[in-house]
Amino acid sequence: MKNKVNGISRGRADRVFDWLDYALLTLAFLLVAYPLYFVVIASVSDPVAVYEGRVILYPIRPTLEGYARIFSYESLFTGYRNTLIYTMVGTAINVVMTVTAGYALSRKELVGRNVMMMGVMFTMIFSGGMIPNYLLVRDLNLYNTMWALILPGAVSTWNLIVCRTFFQQTIPDELKEAAELDGCGDASFFLRIVLPVSSAIIAVMVLFYAVSHWNSYYNALLYLTSTSKYPLQLVLRNILIVNTLDDMVNDVATQAAQQRMGDLIKYGMIIVSSLPLLILYPFLQKYFVQGVMIGAIKG
C-alpha cells in the first residue's frame, strides 16, 4: 500500500483505514466469488467427494460425467435454440417498443404525457395477477405459442422509466431545435440524431431484456404445453426432475448414486445455463452499471 499519495505522506489513521478497506472489500469479493467458484469445481468433481464436503478449493477426482449426462439429452439443444430465438426476437421487440415509447414520453411537447405516464406507472404498482393474465393470453390465442412469452411483457415499466429519464437528461431541447432549423422532422431527428447518441441506453436495454428472457421459465411453464417449444431453463428443470424421479424406482445403493449424480447434474446445469451470460457480462458490465445509475438519479 502506498505511503504517499500525490507526494503527501499518509498518517497512521489513514493507513489503518486503507487496510480495513482492503480487508472488507476482499471479504465481500470472496463472499460473492466463492459460491460461483464452488459451483464450477463441484460440477467437475467426483460427486462422492462433493457429497462428503471434501471439495473446497479445487476439484477432487475430476470428472465430466455430469456434463456428459446433461448433453446426452437432445432436448437440451432444442431448449438452447428456443431460448436463443425467444431472447433475440423478444429483446428486439422490447427494445424497439421501450426506446420509442421512452423517447416520446421524454418530450415536453407530447400532449397528455403525464397522464400516459401515470397510466404506465399504475401497471407497475397494480397488476391483474396470474389467472387474469393466463385468461388473457388464452383468449388472444397466444397460448402454446412463442408470442405468449414475448408480447405480454413487451414493455417493462421500470425499463421505460429508465429510458425516458435517459432521454430527458441527454437529449437537450437545443439539439432538437438545432436539427429543426436545419429542416429535420421528428422521425428523422429520432432516427438520425437520437438513436446514434443513445447507444448506451440501447445497450442497457438489450442487456436488461436479454438477461430477463434468458433466465425466464415461469411464463413458459404457464403458457407452453408442447415440449418442443420449451426454453432452456424449463428443459434443465425437467432434466433435474427426471433424475430425481428415478430415485423412487431404484434400490437404496442405486438411489444414493442417483442422488449424487443429481447433485452433479445440478451444478453442471448452473454452468450450462449461465455460461453464455457469464461470458458476455464483462463486455456489457459498464452498460449495466450505467443503466442502474440512470434509474437511480431521477425517476
Binding site: P172, E174, L175, E177, A178, A179, L181, C184, I193, V197
Partner: protein, 372 residues
C-alpha cells in the same frame, strides 16, 4: 454604421407589438407577460443585442423570432416576409445556441454539412461550401474530429459555421459565450464580431452580460419584465441611462440621493448634492416631484487636492488596471476607480478631497427596490 451593411443581400428584422404570455402558476386565469407589446427593428447587416437580467423575456423574444415559440399576438417580419406563423426551417434563420448543440456523433465536417444535406444539395457543392466556411472560421484542420475532441472555442466556431453555412437571412445568438472562461470569452466575442462583419449577416444577440453587449453590438436593446426599457448604442446607454435600473445594470455606478432638486428642464437639472449646488444632465423622465437619484460612475470620482468634497478611505483594493477605493463622503459610501494609479500611496483611513466630473453625473428616476 457597421461594415455589415456592405452585404447587399442582408435583410432586416421587424417585430411589431409582440406579446407572449404564459400561465402564472398558482393563479387561476393568471398570466405572466414574457413579452409585453414589444416592437423593435434590426437594420440589414446590423448586430443588435437584447440585454437584460434573467427572466426579462429576451430569450423568449429570440425563440419567437426563430419560430420555436408562437407569440400570443403581434407580428414578426424578416425582410419583406411575415414569418410569425411559419415553422423554424422555413424562416431561413440560423441560430447559435448557448450549449452549441453540436451533434456529438458527427464529425465537425458532418455537423456543418448536415443542414445542406437536408436541403438535398449535391455532394460537390456541399463539400465546397463546408470547406469554405471551415476555412473562414479557421477550423479546417479539425474537420474530421468529433465535438468532444476539440476545445470549447473550437466548438463555438463549429456552431457558428453550422449556423451560417446555409446562408440564413438572420443569425440568432442565444448567449453563446456564457460557457467560456473569461479570457476565451473576450477573445471569442472579438472573433464573433469580426466574422459577423465579414459575412455581413443581420444578427440578433441575446446576453445578460453587459460587456458582451457593449463589445459587439451596433445597437443595444435593454429589456426588463417583458418590455423594452431603452434602445441605443452601448455608449448612449452607458452615458445616458434612462433610469437607475439600467444604469446599475450597465457598468458600475454609485447612486446618491440629492439634497434638493431645484429644477429639471431640457435634459438639465439644477440640484444640490452633498451640500454643493450644481447643474448636471437629467433623464427626461425626471420631474422635480419624482424620487430621483444622482448616478456617479466610479471613474468620474477624482481624487485631487483641489477637490470640493472631503472624503475618508474606507477600503482599498488593487485590480492591476486600477485601484478601487471605497470612500465615505458626507455620510454616503461611494466607490471610486483610480485608473491613473497616481494615488497608490493612499491607505485606509486617510482623509482626502475628491471632485466629480459633473458632465458625467446624471439625475435619474430612482428605483424603490434598488439599494442606494
Amino acid at each position: 454604421m457597421s461594415e455589415g451593411k456592405k452585404n447587399l443581400g442582408a435583410v432586416g428584422v421587424e417585430i411589431r407589438d409582440l406579446v407572449k404570455t404564459f400561465p402564472a402558476y398558482g393563479q387561476k386565469n393568471g398570466e405572466v407577460f414574457a413579452a409585453n407589446h414589444v416592437s423593435l427593428s434590426v437594420e440589414p447587416g446590423e448586430m443588435v443585442t437584447l440585454l437584460g437580467p434573467s427572466g426579462c423575456g429576451k430569450t423568449t423574444l429570440l425563440r419567437m423570432v426563430a419560430g420555436f415559440l408562437m407569440p400570443s399576438s403581434g407580428e414578426i417580419r424578416i425582410g419583406d416576409r411575415e414569418v410569425t406563423r411559419i415553422p423554424p426551417n422555413k424562416r431561413n434563420v440560423g441560430m447559435m445556441f448557448q450549449s452549441y448543440a453540436l451533434f456529438p456523433h458527427m464529425t465537425v465536417y458532418d455537423n456543418v454539412a448536415y443542414g445542406l444535406k437536408l436541403k438535398h444539395m449535391g455532394k460537390p457543392e456541399i463539400r465546397d461550401r463546408v470547406r469554405a466556411i471551415l476555412q473562414l472560421m479557421q477550423i479546417e484542420e479539425y474537420a474530421s474530429r468529433f465535438p468532444n475532441e476539440i476545445s470549447g472555442g473550437q466548438q463555438q466556431r463549429v456552431a457558428l459555421a453550422r449556423a451560417v453555412v446555409t446562408e440564413p437571412s438572420v443569425l440568432l445568438f442565444d448567449e453563446p459565450l456564457s460557457n467560456l472562461d473569461a479570457k476565451l470569452r473576450e477573445y471569442m466575442r472579438e472573433e464573433l464580431r469580426k466574422i459577423q462583419k465579414r459575412v455581413g449577416i443581420t444578427s440578433l444577440y441575446v446576453t445578460h452580460d453587459q460587456s458582451d453587449a457593449m463589445a459587439i453590438s451596433d445597437k443595444v436593446i435593454f429589456m426588463r419584465s417583458g418590455t423594452i426599457e431603452q434602445t441605443g448604442t452601448a455608449m448612449e446607454i452607458y452615458a445616458r441611462p434612462r433610469n437607475q435600473f439600467v444604469a446599475g445594470f450597465i457598468g458600475k455606478a454609485n447612486f446618491v440621493r440629492p439634497d434638493a432638486v431645484h429644477s429639471v428642464s431640457g435634459g438639465q437639472a439644477e440640484i444640490t448634492l452633498l451640500g454643493r449646488r450644481m447643474t448636471i444632465g437629467a433623464s427626461e423622465e425626471c420631474g422635480s416631484e419624482k424620487s430621483c437619484v444622482v448616478m456617479i460612475r466610479p471613474e468620474d470620482v477624482k481624487i485631487s487636492a483641489e477637490g470640493a468634497f472631503r472624503a475618508r478611505i474606507l477600503s482599498k483594493a488593487y485590480f492591476g488596471q486600477y485601484i478601487r477605493h471605497s470612500l465615505e463622503i458626507g455620510g454616503c459610501e461611494i466607490e471610486q476607480m483610480d485608473f491613473t494609479q497616481s494615488n497608490a500611496a493612499l491607505q485606509e483611513g486617510d482623509e482626502i478631497t475628491v471632485s466629480f466630473v459633473t458632465d458625467s453625473l446624471r439625475l435619474l428616476p430612482g428605483e424603490d427596490k434598488m439599494e442606494i
